[in-house]
Symmetry: C2
Subunit: 490 residues, 2 copies
Amino acid sequence: MELKTKKINLSTGGPLVAVINEKDAKDLGLHPMDRVKLTKIKSKKEIVAVVDISNKGIDKGYVGLFNELFKELNVEEGNNIEVSYAPQPESVKYIRNKLNGIKLSEKEIYEIVMDIVSNKLSEVELTYFVAAVYKVGFDLKESASLTKAIVDSGTKLKFNSNIVFDKHCAGGVPNNRTTMIVVPIIAALGYIMPKTSSRAITSPAGTADTMEVVAPVALNENKIVEIVKSTNACMAWGGAVNLAAADDKMIKVRHPLSLDPEGMLLASILAKKKAVGATHVLIDLPYGTGAKFATKSIAKKLGKKFMALGKLLDMKLKVVYTNGSQPIGNGIGPSLEVEDVLSVLKGDGPNDLRNKAIYLATEMLKMINIKNAKQKVIEVLDSGKAYKKFQEIVVAQGGNKNIKVGKAKYSFEVKSASNGKISRIHNKPIAKLARLCGAPNDKLAGLYLRVKVGDHITKGDILFTLYAESSSKLNYAVNMLKKLKVIDVN
Amino acid sequence: MELKTKKINLSTGGPLVAVINEKDAKDLGLHPMDRVKLTKIKSKKEIVAVVDISNKGIDKGYVGLFNELFKELNVEEGNNIEVSYAPQPESVKYIRNKLNGIKLSEKEIYEIVMDIVSNKLSEVELTYFVAAVYKVGFDLKESASLTKAIVDSGTKLKFNSNIVFDKHCAGGVPNNRTTMIVVPIIAALGYIMPKTSSRAITSPAGTADTMEVVAPVALNENKIVEIVKSTNACMAWGGAVNLAAADDKMIKVRHPLSLDPEGMLLASILAKKKAVGATHVLIDLPYGTGAKFATKSIAKKLGKKFMALGKLLDMKLKVVYTNGSQPIGNGIGPSLEVEDVLSVLKGDGPNDLRNKAIYLATEMLKMINIKNAKQKVIEVLDSGKAYKKFQEIVVAQGGNKNIKVGKAKYSFEVKSASNGKISRIHNKPIAKLARLCGAPNDKLAGLYLRVKVGDHITKGDILFTLYAESSSKLNYAVNMLKKLKVIDVN
């Protein structure tokens, strides 16, 4: 059937969708979510799209094309195109197979991922894929196939070195901003570490949000390669780079139910490392009450899978298990975390953040058999070489050499109501308060801790300070204090 | 944040979706598939919608409203509305619970279904619900809750009678158009049978497609009640009536993977019976090679669940298991099936269709303890009373009393290449050929069988005739003959 194109000036966010009037749909024998083949009359160019049937907005005789499809088909408004029924891509069959408990081959997973990245699967089909991996699971071989396919779905970086470092932390612990210390240490020691990080989704700050306080982080592939060539490292926002393109689309449909299908999670993490050419990857899995993993043995189960998958992917991995039962560092929120990072890079505290960064950097050096690794790390930190390297990276990314962090306009001090010893600092309420204050969007907002577990305090001592850029946000956070158990004093 | 409304003249097909520019989304801390609360400045009317983030089509400062949302919010283009973050509905949590293997309460299922029907769930969330029921399953109690909730989600019909008949056939067998014979028999005997049927999705004809050859079937609730009051029965298309509104939305997302989660399938079928007020329901489960159930024992497993669910729903059910290994009747395709139906109603053959219709009608009468049931059924059929009733219903629905069926312009006879006995007629290739000829959209298209299993034939005898309304469709079907195993002669 020949239909006239009509541009729909909207994105679907991925899938190629064509909208057809319900009368035309009936004539073509189409049902919602079926597929159509669109053929340009002159050039014979063909594109298959998912069909959306509407009784409004698209008149009989027209086919509405969402942005992605309009662009892909490369037509003008009002062109005649031939529209006919098209079968589903084979990958939908593989998704159904997975949902039915059947193992997928490397080729099948590759096809699914390529169809995801080229927008051939509808959101509903993609959701079934996530649900299938969540309920049925992926074995290690399937996870390795998924990782490789995700890597192939995007851009790959290549550096002229046998050792390219990367690190990953499972998250859930406020501040814990070790990346911004470890990267300049490793780079100052002469090794390559092209780090990409995420922004916060539910936390008060991601590494990308924090780094953005001092320098632009939305760097493209060419820029990353250039910066790494000149400084050995970078600290970029992963979302601005087309690494692991298919992964972002899967994460989108995982979001509504906050699903972390293990086989997908492992692939997602390692694909991003593999895509930047990483050969040596340190995985930090914090455990403890309030951390992502309640106990060390739970963390170890995942750690073993990481190791096994790393082997299949020909990457050298090391997993460390760290105590994540209280925040690491004092500041929570982008600028407040930068303050801690700068302080450590200048050879000062907070001690827990300094010690953890030293530990992680040391473990990384040990992966390549460097002797006196810890000593070398401390030397590069205390000599100011790491700080100088940090400045270099900041400047290379387009930031200012004279790194300055402002202070929020509004603040509120929370004091202890009794004498005693700090027995616990609750991660989740801390994160929540910092978000209520405006972090991560308000860069100066957040919370600054004055105590750590084990500290002895006197009634009236400041436990923490809330910072906000607007009085209403500060008030809202202050009001929430009554409802939250933030710090236990015994 | 205050944004100006912009009408998007397109339907989502259900979910309430608001489109926001990515800059505004960042300021609001929104991620794709999050929700926003939209508040009209003056009236304070609030609606929660799923957010779609776009960098095209919607400028900063605007919020795009798809048809459903625009209508629900009852605004004009360019109105100012307050837009803020909103949490997910509770029902999303229940869906996640189900996916994690947790049983759902009646109240929770009710809430999910009501959120589906009022378009509060996104397609992705709805897909997770289907996937969860598919993988985790529903127990009978959950299926009963789902059935009741689906019934409550739509319009309910009520007839002033203690006995309201209905029937259901699991499908998969070509022709098998017993409904159009059973309904007039039961109605002629003085019982109420307000039948709604579906159109074909993958078969060459549904009862609604077939009935449509002789009368309109897109009847609304009032019309159905009126027709049943005057004639005791109707044969309407279920899709035109707002019975089981939530079910249609679930079926839409089940379609891409052709998923039939059992707990959902049972609820879907019985909800439509309950919604028309049915008290006595006959379920026909055809079994055999090429039928929906390969063996009788597989069919019986489902039959038992139907019976148990019927009990929980306070409906009287009877399940019959019939041989479905070859087509019932001769014509396949809407008009060709009508020919068979009319022939039987006039006291003639095809014998298999006549006998099955008599059997089903008899079994229904036995459910209410009618004596000499079979004799009564045959009498009403052979006396022409059933045909007269059929005419009455056709006229009441808006059809012509003088029922006439045309013949397709193009035909092709398929002859036997050898002498022998018909050992098998393959259901699926038969259905495929009829669809290739144009059924169900081309009403006159399809296939007419001249033989049945067990018949002795001579080389050159006609096995079946293909009918089409266009020569190209006929040629396409004829070409496919070589590739298909349609009838086995031994």
